[in-house]
Symmetry: C2
Subunit: 397 residues, 2 copies
């Protein structure tokens, strides 16, 4: 029997390609928060599934992928209503991290990352609001992208926090990540070619543990050779904690706005952490949150100033290898905060970020991330496929 | 000699279809703010043209349209850096409104509206930040759409205020507007069918002049028959002036952020109104604008509450027929404020709005607008083409 790693929410939700195309022969899995015609997306929560109707059509990205020759293999387990970056699901079980047994897969696109990492699908679709594609990609040792906010149609997707929500995807190799990008972002008018400037995000790297920094910094010399100019930068001179708090506040306000009605009406049963997080979101007051919105605008200006079109930022995807399963209260929260301090940067600024897998402590995966300017997604994917992945692969042998 | 109505910025910028498709046989014009390979977009200002380089590829939407069989006929005159809704251009001349001679065409997508209205192209592409497709469509007597913010790829477009910027389009008939929508938004997963509820925006209608209200309200009875339930609503219980001010503040902050560097460096020469508007934008202080960002969030919630997925809002596109050319200071500003009070609603909430042409005072055109929920663009276009336009056409005969 084929091992299934508990990646799939529903392996019966299969769909054949709608035509031949550039993805013919490839298989994919879709996080269970996208519309698939005739199927009810479950969003990782049985009460959500019970209180919603089947979709009458596919989400926009699913249509595009089927129309490009790819075959849908099933829907994948997600953290409940996408509101976590851990990947532990109390209702359906936690997808098993194939590259770090006994450790969390990361979330919320947990099953998508596991399906790809375990070879159950060639690529998978997830969503990334605060790290939900990037974090599980890093923990499960695969490539992943969070695209420019707004660059990919989110219609047919259950919203979490719309001003941050993006459709992202994952693959075991950079070429497949790029091939999917050509389908989903194919007509994007970005610049061609390599990034002349490379900036290393000192303050983000200082959040990694010693072993992860050592593992990642082995690659810095070969990465430096990929750009004409290199520099070290401090992304957030006044501290990333303030950035993360602005992210959490605006995200929480939007999440409560999106889901308040359903939660109040249905009183759904949530697993550990999720209920508390929704309860916290319900306490936020829009009228007291002006500073968070102002800071987000300042952050967008700061990142535009740092990156423009021609600089790529090198940063860690996660602070360390995936933590063990079933961590408790304060440990979970501490890791969540550290991770969000990294992942909130691209989220707040709406920028594309690609994570590339490398080996960390005990051979468990971590990720090196590359963040580029707005709408430079295709250029970033091509650069990673053509230049970065080969360098990293060579050094990893 | 074919009359050209001063619609085109450059009639040499032609491009043949890249393949056969659903738009084969159709011609289109593009506002001179989109990338066309080998051409420098001029943004309605000679200093912009002089200080920028030719584009090395087409903007995403241009690629899609050429790939669907449409033929590009040229680039169209725009208000300078899109920062006006009047359509008067001191450098290149004001495109001539074919349906209201002696009156402004509206802007900033002035030349696009005129090209379509005069029959120089079957449809045209513009941009709409605060009304720049909707207003000239109404004044020139054509159909126009501002889509859901984020639904269409803006790559290859000169930005004005990114959190409001959209790519919109115009056509002489609702079917062509829909056909272009299928190409640009084809995979959007929205609901099917008519809108069960119709809301008439009392406060927006109260901003129209007496004649325009009389002309529009002739159509209310046939419109009412298109929905199961009808109601009258007040969109902004605390007043639209406050909404418009939030719009102008956030827009101004973003405009200055986008264009400050160029303006400071090149000291471009701007025509009347434009220079003052940029100077005003430069005085805005982000740190004092928290209330505007909070109000925008409240407005998004308000519109979601009013419309959900199943209600269509009926509102005026413009307060009255196009004003005469060469209005001066306070008259221009008064009309600008009235118009922005209407057009800011869809802009602030990021919602799709379709304007349908009807005859107003002296036979000059005005528009009736239909605003729907987020990502209901295709449903709205289909509903207008299948249901609304025939009713309005019959009554107009």
């Amino acid at each position: 029997m084929k091992r299934n790693w508990n990646a799939y929410a529903n392996e019966q939700v299969v769909a054949l390609p709608l035509s031949e195309g550039s993805l013919s022969g490839k298989t994919f899995a879709v996080k269970d928060v996208f519309d698939i015609a005739g199927h009810t997306p479950g969003a990782g929560n049985p009460d959500w599934l019970r209180t919603h109707e089947p979709s009458d059509r596919h989400a926009a990205v699913v249509d595009k992928l089927l129309g490009s020759g790819a075959k849908l293999m099933g829907t994948t387990i997600t953290d409940e209503i996408m509101y976590s970056i851990n990947g532990e699901n109390a209702h359906y079980g936690t997808p098993v991290n194939p590259k770090a047994i006994g450790r969390i897969p990361g979330g919320s696109s947990s099953g998508s990352a596991v399906a790809v990492s375990a070879g159950l699908a060639d690529f998978a679709i997830g969503t990334d609001t605060g790290g939900s594609v990037r974090v599980p990609s890093a923990y499960c040792g695969i490539y992943g992208i969070r695209p420019t906010h707004g660059a990919i149609d989110v219609s047919g997707l259950i919203p979490l926090a719309p001003s941050f929500d993006t459709v992202g995807w994952m693959a075991r190799d950079a070429q497949t990540l790029l091939d999917v990008g050509r389908v989903l972002l194919g007509s994007q008018a970005c610049k061609d070619g390599a990034f002349p400037r490379m900036a290393f995000a000192d303050d983000l790297w200082s959040l990694t543990d010693e072993h992860s920094f050592a593992a990642a910094s082995r690659y810095f010399p070969v990465l430096r050779e990929l750009a004409d100019q290199q520099e070290a930068v401090v992304v957030a001179p006044n501290g990333l904690r303030e950035w993360m708090n602005a992210f959490r506040t605006i995200q929480g306000l939007e999440i409560w706005r999106e889901h308040q009605e359903w939660i109040t009406r249905e009183k759904p049963s949530f697993g550990p952490g999720i209920a508390e997080r929704f309860a916290w979101a319900s306490t936020l007051k829009l009228e007291e949150s002006g500073a968070a919105y102002i800071l987000r605008e300042e952050i967008r200006m700061r990142m535009e100033e740092l990156l423009g079109e021609d600089t790529v930022l090198v940063a860690p995807t996660v602070p360390a290898i995936a933590p063990p399963l079933n961590m408790t209260g304060s440990e979970v929260e501490r890791r969540r905060v550290q991770t969000l301090e990294m992942s909130c940067v691209a989220g707040l600024a709406g920028l594309p970020q690609v994570t590339v897998p490398i080996a960390g402590e005990q051979g468990c995966p971590i990720g090196i991330s590359f963040i580029a300017g707005r709408n430079q997604d295709m250029r970033l994917l091509e650069w990673v496929a053509d230049r970065v992945s080969a360098q990293i692969f060579l050094l990893s042998e």
